[in-house]
Point group: C2
Chain length 317, copies 2
């Protein structure tokens, strides 16, 4: 039987994880990053992501600059998700023989420009030939003060659930791209949010410094799915105030014009790379722009409050 | 023009490297690992390698256990090449939908068994679907005492050139596999050396502790190519005593029987993953099994002494 039929992706990860014991003090599979304690009051954070042509992108659609930008961004976002500072990245590139030098230059320019925002150098990698498809892997190292990384499993009943910015822009941008739609300034901004996500490193680090902030992760699959990871890891439930979910004016404008459901983009659309975190009600979060969208409950259900729509669909994970 | 025609692989790496500045104290592209100083007297070492189906292996030839073993081994060997201790690995797997669970289990078993030899845990990674080809990326973290990592560029005129074990077994093993030859015990041992290389971690760490040891790397492409990396990085040349290159009895036996040139396997065949290092003539190397095969010269030529064959062919790199 194929691994997908028998295990599914999450089952596969669990099966792999069971084969390896994690040394005391380290954190392994299951969070946005692994955590390896150093001996100087700092923890090393590590994450890695693979992008395959035909699964994650189509070469004819993807501008190489944007692809390079996004390859670096989604990895650095994993460091932000734990509250860390990115230290260095490592890029593996399998290139089909027909790729031209301009493509490589474009990719590297995008990768470099995003990395420069965070002064995060590329320190190594691997280049190899591919028989046909582009394959990109990035590994990222980060660091944070010892024990301060925020994990998914630390949400507590009574915590507020917050996000650092508007949701749904990236998903709507993808709809604009795939639909080949004409782009006004609003649509263009959504497309840009899809192609050039900006990891919330500054926000993550500020939140990591606050003891009142408990669980944290970045939103890569949409809160309908990602919030569930926090709930499952924490053994809690949540009530989300659907009307409180922040939507950008651009998303509202394009959705109104096209008859799309903005809330659907925001909840089930992924790749916004905003941070999703939980915090004690009395935590002082004034240092960071954020929106409260609900609260953590003792009961393990996930309830979408205040929507005329039935959000049960999101319970299938 | 395609990147390969215009730049070649090494030109590509140089072009990428030029786009990124390396922060002071760190070592980036160009050695077996990047070096990132910690603040506690240790350096973090990082390397990454990508294996693509159709470029690096054929699925029908590769036993999943062996492929898992080798994926971990070649990365841990990069840590050994600098004299470090492996700390953790990170595995990205892009799996075609028709891969079955038994394949995944076999791969992970091989990966786990090699990792267990070095108590090196798998701490994370990425799993994703691939439209067709298997794609494997491993990133490895290691550490060594501050400033003690051995680099490629530190060879000095007068140094002895040494290797930690016999060369050519892996290349001959590959010839046995590709030729579909019948395997006696000797041939079987060569095949095993090809499929299940053993990184020289213990040897690398012992050598890293010796100040008299200067340049070091692991032999992945064959010393005909790898020694050149040391020479170019160090601005030196070398005389290799071809008759001193260590050959296993199994290699000698199979080569005699098949009429193969054992020296050719040893010099131009890769994937032995022995260590190649240079050391001051008065360095006490008694702690480690090794064979002296030549010496570093001020003149930048590479001379193959004592062979009836013309080894000029190896100068084309």
């Amino acid at each position: 039987m194929t691994y997908l039929d028998e295990l599914g992706e999450f089952g596969l990860i669990g099966r792999i994880g069971k084969q390896f014991s994690v040394p005391r003090g380290m954190t392994g599979i299951g969070d946005d990053c692994a955590i390896i304690p150093q001996k100087n009051g700092m923890d090393t954070l590590v994450s890695t992501d693979m992008l395959i042509e035909g699964t994650h992108f189509l070469r004819e659609d993807a501008n190489p600059y944007d692809l390079g930008w996004k390859s670096a961004a989604v990895n650095i976002s994993d460091i932000a998700a734990m509250g860390g500072k990115p230290v260095a990245t490592f890029l593996s590139l399998a290139l089909p023989k027909d790729i031209d030098t301009a493509w490589v230059d474009g990719f590297i320019s995008g990768y470099r420009d995003l990395s420069a925002v965070f002064s995060c150098p590329l320190l190594g990698g691997d280049t190899t030939a591919s028989p046909d498809r582009l394959c990109i892997n990035v590994a990222v190292l980060g660091e944070c003060p010892s024990g301060k990384a925020k994990k998914r499993g630390d949400a507590r009943p009574g915590d507020l659930i917050c996000v650092t910015g508007p949701l749904g822009d990236s998903a709507a941008g993808l709809k604009v791209i795939l639909g080949g739609m004409e782009r006004d300034a609003d649509a263009e901004k959504l497309v840009r949010r899809h192609y050039r996500p900006m990891p919330r490193v500054k926000e993550g680090r500020a939140l990591a410094a606050l003891d009142g902030v408990h669980a944290m992760m970045d939103i890569s699959d949409g809160i309908g799915s990602d919030l569930r990871h926090i709930l499952e890891a924490s053994g809690t439930g949540a009530e989300v105030d659907v009307v409180a979910i922040p939507l950008s004016p651009e998303l509202a404008a394009v959705c109104t014009r096209e008859g799309w459901d903005a809330l659907d983009c925001a909840v089930s659309g992924g790749e916004d790379y905003e941070l999703l975190f939980t915090a004690a009600p009395d935590a002082d979060l004034s240092c960071i722009a954020h929106t409260k969208i609900g609260r953590i409950t003792k009961d393990t259900a996930l309830v979408w409050k205040g929507s005329g729509k039935d959000f049960q669909g999101f319970r299938h994970f």
